[in-house]
């Protein structure tokens, strides 16, 4: 232990609580919670974070967008961790809830829906989900605090998100869906939508009628054998358009 360190104060611990909460919100929740063991003063500091960010993926997406599913024996600990974080989160208005899971264990798969529902009940504003299953709690699609929603499947073997018929997201400005089976369900349900990114398998014709839309990214992956489906865009305020894929 060098002698110089004895004269240096622990200024980090002396920062005001709201600044520490801001700092801890800027990292994955795993690392924020790690600070609970630094000293007694730090034990509950992490509970005031504004962002909840859980990442339980093993491999990054390759160019072919395949993530290997895995089961590694830590599932029970992960479930306990997320349950506890949601239970002790002192913020009733969470800014960001991110859940990226590519673990395939059945216990995790059955918890994901509950976790997302908890986030909605915490008045979440930004939701970023990348999981293995297709079922989402319906509360996500009627959440009136949501301003940004991102849905992706972490194992793109097949299929895509099937959006429910009753969607109403009054504050949603940004929507990003990777792997959407029924894009026509978006029609009319997001009155202030400004930015839309869709990856669809263009099997059927569909119409996008969004008067407020300014930014659109459309990626069409090849659907069934008859690749000639029609997409109609009614987007009078559009400023930016990006289109890719098989049209």
């Amino acid at each position: 232990m060098s002698s110089t360190s004895e004269n240096v104060d622990d200024r980090l611990s002396m920062l005001p609580e709201d600044i520490l909460s801001r700092i801890l919100s800027l990292m994955p929740t795993k690392f924020a919670v790690r600070t609970s063991v630094l000293s007694k003063r730090w034990r509950h500091t992490w509970t005031s974070v504004t962002n909840l960010d859980f990442d339980y993926t093993r491999y990054h997406r390759s160019i072919q967008k395949i993530i290997k599913k895995f089961v590694d024996g830590n599932e029970e600990n992960f479930i306990k961790f997320v349950d506890r974080a949601l239970k002790f989160c002192r913020n009733s208005h969470v800014k960001l809830f991110r859940l990226h899971v590519s673990n395939y264990h059945h216990a995790i798969v059955s918890s994901v829906s509950n976790w997302i529902d908890s986030a909605v009940r915490l008045n979440v504003r930004e939701l970023d989900i990348c999981v293995i299953q297709y079922e989402l709690p319906l509360s996500v699609f009627t959440c009136n605090t949501l301003t940004s929603l991102r849905l992706e499947l972490s194992a793109c073997d097949f299929g895509g998100w099937e959006l429910p018929s009753t969607i109403y997201l009054p504050c949603l400005k940004t929507l990003d869906i990777v792997g959407c089976n029924n894009p026509q369900a978006i029609h009319g349900c997001c009155p202030v939508l400004e930015s839309l990114s869709l990856e669809v398998s263009c099997e059927e014709d569909f119409v996008l009628n969004i008067p407020t839309l300014k930014w659109l990214k459309l990626i069409c992956t090849s659907g069934s054998s008859n690749g000639n489906s029609k997409i109609t865009l009614r987007v009078p305020k559009l400023e930016y358009l990006f289109v890719d894929g098989v049209l």
Partner: protein, 203 residues
């Protein structure tokens, strides 16, 4: 901040331009309109109001810095002080030393000068300025955080907090303690319990 205002001015002001609520050091932003302030200026010519072009800031150790108003109002705190008519001769900043204030002014100048262009070059240049700006010792970094917080400069607060966050994430608790000189006051049993509660975080 109202304590530093000459009380004579307040008295004169209150008779002619009384807002609907009492002025107290604890009241929120007074909300005088610009025309009210202009009226005040014309009726009390002896009051020296700073020109709309430059603002004088005074650090805690008495040093003064003259800055363009456009640069000074990057700080929401200073912006409100100017709008409230508290910026006659100079704005005192008792919580900020000259060393830190000069750095903050440097940051605000750069961010005001860089046009809000979508140009890649300007964006890259600003990013690299920001990256170099936070390459300072820990003590200065914490002073910058506290100054950005007090002066309410969101982008600077975000930048400095992210820098500290990057110093924490990915490290083991032992490494974090060493980096920031945090004293571990848990007993081994207490520490074990905390680690067990959130086992997945420590894997």
């Amino acid at each position: 901040m109202l304590k530093n205002l000459n009380s004579k001015h307040i008295q004169r002001f209150s008779y002619k331009y009384l807002p609907q609520f009492p002025i107290s050091p604890n009241s929120p932003k007074l909300g005088f309109s610009r025309s009210q302030i202009a009226n005040y200026r014309s009726n009390f010519p002896t009051t020296i109001m700073s020109s709309s072009k430059t603002i004088v800031l005074r650090s805690s150790d008495g040093e003064t810095f003259e800055v363009d108003e456009a640069v000074a109002v990057e700080s929401q705190t200073i912006k409100h002080m100017i709008e409230d008519g508290c910026a006659d001769t100079s704005i005192p900043l008792p919580n900020v030393t000259s060393k830190i204030l000069s750095k903050v002014i440097e940051y605000c100048k750069k961010h005001v000068e860089t046009p809000n262009a979508d140009e890649k070059v300007a964006e890259e240049d600003l990013k690299s300025f920001d990256a170099d700006f936070v390459k300072v010792d820990q003590s200065t970094l914490f002073d910058l955080i506290l100054a950005a917080n007090y002066l309410n400069i969101k982008s600077l607060l975000d930048l400095t907090c992210q820098t500290v966050a990057d110093m924490i994430k990915g490290k083991t608790p032992e490494e974090i303690r060493k980096t920031f000189n945090i004293k571990n006051d848990f007993t081994p049993e207490e520490e074990e319990e905390v680690r067990r509660e959130n086992a997945w975080a420590f894997e």
